[in-house]
Symmetry: D2
């Protein structure tokens, strides 16, 4: 297993195929540092005796210990551990681990490559397992990358005026395929491998759009456009929270890219495009039932600490809100646990969580997140937004003002007050916070996506039948 | 095991210690029939091959098959089955089974009688097990009965001007104790045995109020005052939904009642009063995670059927609401499942569900129930409230109007439309519906009770520590 | 002006064209008494020096003092007084006055009869004014009656398989018209005159459905089917709240009914069907901005009194909810006031309130009502649902229990506690309460109707233009 | 009247008493530019024939035309115009005008200086009017500045360990007073005059804290610490929205500052401290009923445009949300209008809006704002957060990707799509957006402040009396 340094060094060695505000840059650009810090934590945790039981597992391919993020669940226990592992990591980072999506994509592929092989007598699965072993052996980081630009939303892929609005196969050759298109969202600036899957179910006319593959992140023809999200940055008063962050949202462009067969996971089998996108989303929403619970844990812990610092921790209307946050975190987690407990094995041996519970968990997470940010803003009464800057807080000429006027109860130091409310400001009102508002609502699929998934998988007729029987309707 | 007829016959044989609007009545008064019908279903289900795996279990006392409602969970599997059993029964009844509370009280007593024995070298537990075997052998129905009148809410039990505002021990004798007081809420009109527990934690000065016992429902000195809830009644067009219902809310008065020692479960051990009330509530909220999911199942099924009858089942804004209902039902159930999965054995061998998840489940159920009724009222657009009466619907002189003007799409019969909207009217706007609004919000403890329980059991310091670490607060 | 007795006596003299659960009954049937009591209050208030400034106005037709409910607003001040008058009356009744709808229908007709005359050179308006004078002179009560059965919701009126699914003109004669059909909802059992209007906009093919007229409530061919709502009834402890109530929902059937021209207000002018239904709804929603504020006033006052009786009136989480209720009542009322302030004169001289504000007010009222009932249920903690019955409270044998166990703080009598919680029970959990849940959500048009009306009248392009300018979109 | 240039030039000439991240800077620092741009708009509008009827008024002191922001309302019409003026300006700026608070403070002072004079025979009012004329003549911009640091929240001002935790008078001299302390929040970096008022009601022991005055923004002893909020900045594709913004939150420190009597507005008359803070807040919340409606206008317009660009403008679930936004904007505005209509004259001739309606308006605004941002994020589906940067959008090497993959329907240009979603990103996810989340919830007083104000001013006994009468409680 590799160290965080190994990961960082290889990242810095990649070709400069990233553009940041019009300029070509390397992975060592400061803009990506907080994201790299976040990913690094998953390497450190795997080597930390306190956490390794969660962050590592035994490869069923090699019998070696590997990072859990490069595995797929092979038991109910694995699914439970995955959820707990993600919650733990997000608690430590105060946010996104940037590595779950890759695991979730690999999990989905482990199922579908096998199912496609069974129907079409192809050999995707064994090639995929070889790739997975490569990921495990080198302890690599891969992506979740499924959203296409989509063009005119009222048209299917093959109906678009510009056929590239969904990533597509433009040529099949003896040694591989050539693809063209782009994938939106993602954080491919800090990942080793780019793995791509379809964004939706396809019809027989959309066969060219049923495609999945992996390539190295700096592969020929791949261009990464990054929209930076301003990192939290502390100049004078450091804190772990400000070390981590989202490294910018990417548009990953594939301009006539050749993919050799050994890295192709779906190629025209349109019937399985929907299955694959469903599964990748399902596994990702399973991760979400852990990471979203952690986000609420942090909002709750912060709100509780603010109440304590402000001397309001006994107020019933405050306690009501704290209890609501706790009940929300655990309700989301409970959906993850129940989805895990009811997981069923696929033909590949991969365990597939129950989609109803997982989607319910992600759905309620998305429906609650703005309200949770609002609760923290409410309890902290807007404090944080007017905090003295670091420099004003420590500059000798000014600290006689800033340290004086920030004080509350005598037993809490000015610095601790500053530290807490700075974190509140960063959590709620910074550009990173803005990103987390979007991610909390839409990441892993907006609530509307979970609603659709639930409706598609729910036995609504059974519920109607209960009612018909009671109403005496024949 | 007994049949529903056995249960009904013995009920009808009890002494007439019930008052209904000022008059002394027997259990055969029509006002109780819908409640008796509901309880009877738990007897029928236990004898039904389709359901017996859920509704029966093997007595660990006798090895015989007994009704699950007269058992306590001895494994995670038992807790899971209990939740599923309650959901199934509530789905069939369209409402309350009226029998879970007894099971939940017995479960709580199985734990505490043992714990008290361990500390005080008493022998409550073996006596309790004898009582439990009596319950099993005769397939009896008992109560959950904990709420005291409480008098002045700002005073503790022993501080009240009238010392009877909480049920209390007024004398300890060699062969038993004498108690005085009353218990509010409950449905003791349709139960065989009345089991009583404390409503809250007690202090050393409240020792006389730390009392728990069981007596037959028509025992000397016990008077039951019943506030009737008008039963759903169909004169012309019958339906199962209208056969069941809540038989009226009772105030059970204990006027200098003698309880022999073999039926006393707590007597002055004030340290365990809170423990016992916590556990009875916990088990009852566990049941709630099943029955409340069933209530939402029915609201969902009804709303879906209304949308179908009105030709709106494809509308996105309707589907959004149906999906929300489904996600709510399953989220509550998931809390029950997770509470079960994380259950731990007490010294008595009883499995105690995880209080955080169970309380989170009941909490969200309570917080959502008014909104769910609102959703059904919204989707059904107030239809039902103006439905022709049964008599107008079938009277020859009038049915040329009523059957004509109720029609919608050609393929749905006027009668089925009437049946559906009559059930909507009964679910939402009847006096029974009013009761279910109250019960949905407060039954098993109002949301404020779950918030307090969560706060009392939640590791808030752990959440603060996460934040302190991230903020760099030492 | 007439007295309440005059009103009652003439009502009792009407022909028995009402069916109640299959039986033909007169207006003196006890089922209608609470509704008649409610209407009577509007007669008493008009003769009460304290209220006459609100409840009467000067007829612009005769210069005589008339009941405001038989007038239409001829100034901004009139609209303001109308809203205040309705709020005051609903506060006194604890619910619906049953007389606003008639006023609102008359107001709409005053506008449209004139506008139709202007376009088609008809003479509806002068005939309508004669009818209005008749209403004023005899101080009569009329209806709002617009909802048709609608049949298949996906078809327009003229497309229905059964052409009667919307009330229609089946014959035009020299002396009048013949109509057939039915109107749903309404309380025509306690009204003197039945006035009917179209339920929606019509197309040229729906001309036969563009019809409006008035007939006496016991007119030949009119049959009233009443779905009773169980009245609040006190046997032992009377209270004003229980004297009033909704007298049952009617389906009013018109079976080949002849309407003389002097009572026809619209007859085939389909372009004005939508205008008339819009205006009747608008005026009714204006009333709603008063009566709904009063409903919230009562919920607020009750919740405040419950908190006081329970000793919780200083608790912040309770006060938070009381303040929310107050802010909700006044926000709805403010929409009414603003709609009034921005009222504009129609060609008839009638003032038409601003539809945006009026619909916003009714919309928010509908969106909040379930939550308000929930708040009262929450603050009253389910008490009320388990209150001793009247008989148990006063029967000598039982009152030593009931009066004892109901007590709270020493300075509040058992009877007052009973009185308060009985009203809570009646407000929240009775069959009447069920009706008010439906009416609060749907009365005057469900929230979806206000949303549609707002969208149809709102200058959305202006809002888009603001954004385009700011975004630099040309 | 002055021009925007006049305003800017005099601002740039002020002494450099501002600190920005530890450095002393002038008002010409780029960090303040967007704020200065926003204030400038109020100068331009006053000179714009289209808007001058709203943005100017006639001085009752001089009879000259002056900017409305330097006046106080002397009629109901003035209050109505003030609300409309603020809404209009906020619509044009896409956010805060930064000038209302000064007007609101002046309005409050106009009332209280007179009332204090009446009780204490002082002469604050005439001096205040002289200052007001100075503000009018030079068309100056002043502040709202009332929040003190507050220290230990459980102690009153005079009980604090550090007596400066509330701004206080430390010396009274013949020619003026000396004050010490600080005021939090505000935007004193872009204002000419700093006007200070008390933050709360005071007791007789807190007399030294009952102080109000005005000084020039660069006055001796005044130090402004600014916490910058990163401005929206466009490098390549300009748009008005990005020109304006909040210039940073200030802490304004008064270090032994001498205030001459002619600029002191309250000095120890503690009984009026609460009155003044109440009135300043009331006038500011009145402004809020205009500006918050405008914020919702913009959210609505943006959401509507996004729906149109995405081809979803006809979807019912989208239209439902747009209608809800419209109903929310107008409900808040209606509270402002009703507060204005019910305004009453103070002894100074100033019109004081009705506090119930104004506070209800601000309250509902605060309670809805997070939900509104959520709605826009929901409808825009997270698009915007992943928009290509300006540079990537226009750089020739990259625009073949960025302009290609952003396209939707053929008739909408890539640039317009970019422009719209860039504005979405700026509105929802930028650091400025973070500030507006805080300001929307807390600006002008958090919802808890309005709740307290409503409770303090609401006739709750009247509501209880309604209920007592109906319940028969004597």
């Amino acid at each position: 297993m590799k160290t965080d340094k190994d990961y960082q060094n290889r990242l810095y060695s990649y070709k400069r195929n990233i553009f940041l505000q019009g300029e070509r840059v390397g992975r060592d650009h400061p803009s990506f540092q907080s994201g790299i810090n976040a990913v690094s934590e998953s390497f450190r945790a795997a080597l930390d005796p306190q956490y390794e039981h969660l962050f590592t597992t035994t490869s069923h391919l090699t019998g070696k210990k590997v990072n859990r993020f490069n595995s797929f669940p092979r038991s109910v226990e694995d699914v439970l551990k995955k959820v707990e592992c993600v919650r733990t990591l997000a608690q430590r980072l105060g946010g996104c681990a940037l590595r779950c999506g890759g695991m979730d994509t690999l999990s989905g592929l482990s199922v579908v490559t096998r199912e496609v092989d069974e129907e079409f007598k192809t050999d995707y699965h064994s090639r995929f397992l070889k790739f997975l072993q490569h990921m495990q052996d080198d302890d690599l980081v891969t992506s979740i990358l499924i959203t296409d630009p989509k063009g005119d939303r009222s048209l299917r892929p093959h109906q678009q005026v510009d056929p590239d609005m969904y990533l597509r196969i433009i040529e099949k050759k003896s040694d591989g395929i050539v693809v063209n298109g782009a994938k939106l969202f993602g954080e491919t600036t800090v990942q080793d491998e780019i793995t791509v899957g379809p964004t939706r179910a396809m019809t027989d006319k959309d066969g060219d759009y049923a495609v999945s593959f992996s390539v190295p992140a700096d592969y020929d023809g791949v261009t990464i456009l990054c929209k930076p999200i301003k990192a939290l940055k502390r100049n004078k008063i450091k804190a772990p929270y400000a070390e981590y962050g989202y490294p910018g949202v990417t548009i990953t462009v594939f301009d006539n890219v050749f993919i050799p067969w050994e890295r192709v996971w779906l190629c025209g089998e349109w019937k399985y495009a929907g299955r694959l996108s469903f599964l990748i989303a399902l596994y990702h929403r399973t991760s979400y039932c852990g990471c979203k619970a952690a986000v609420t844990d942090l909002i709750l812990g912060t709100a509780a600490l603010v109440a304590e610092y402000n001397g309001l921790e006994k107020e019933k209307h405050i306690r009501e809100k704290l209890a609501h946050l706790a009940a929300t975190a655990e309700m989301i987690y409970a959906c993850g646990v129940t989805g895990a407990v009811r997981a069923k094995a696929a033909s590949s041996g991969t365990f597939i969580p129950d989609p109803i519970y997982i989607n319910a968990g992600r759905y309620h997470a998305g429906m609650n997140i703005y309200n949770e940010f609002e609760t923290l803003s409410d309890i902290s009464a807007g404090q944080g937004i007017n905090l003295p800057t670091e420099e004003d807080f420590v500059t000798p000429e000014l600290d006689r003002y800033t340290k004086k006027y920030i004080k509350r109860k005598a037993d809490i130091s000015a610095e601790n007050i500053w530290r807490l409310f700075r974190m509140v400001d960063e959590m709620l009102y910074s550009e990173q916070a803005g990103f987390w508002h979007a991610a909390g609502l839409h990441g892993g699929g907006s609530p509307i996506m979970e609603r659709l998934t639930i409706l598609a998988n729910y036995d609504m007729d059974a519920k109607k039948s209960l009612v018909k029987r009671l109403a005496g309707i024949s």
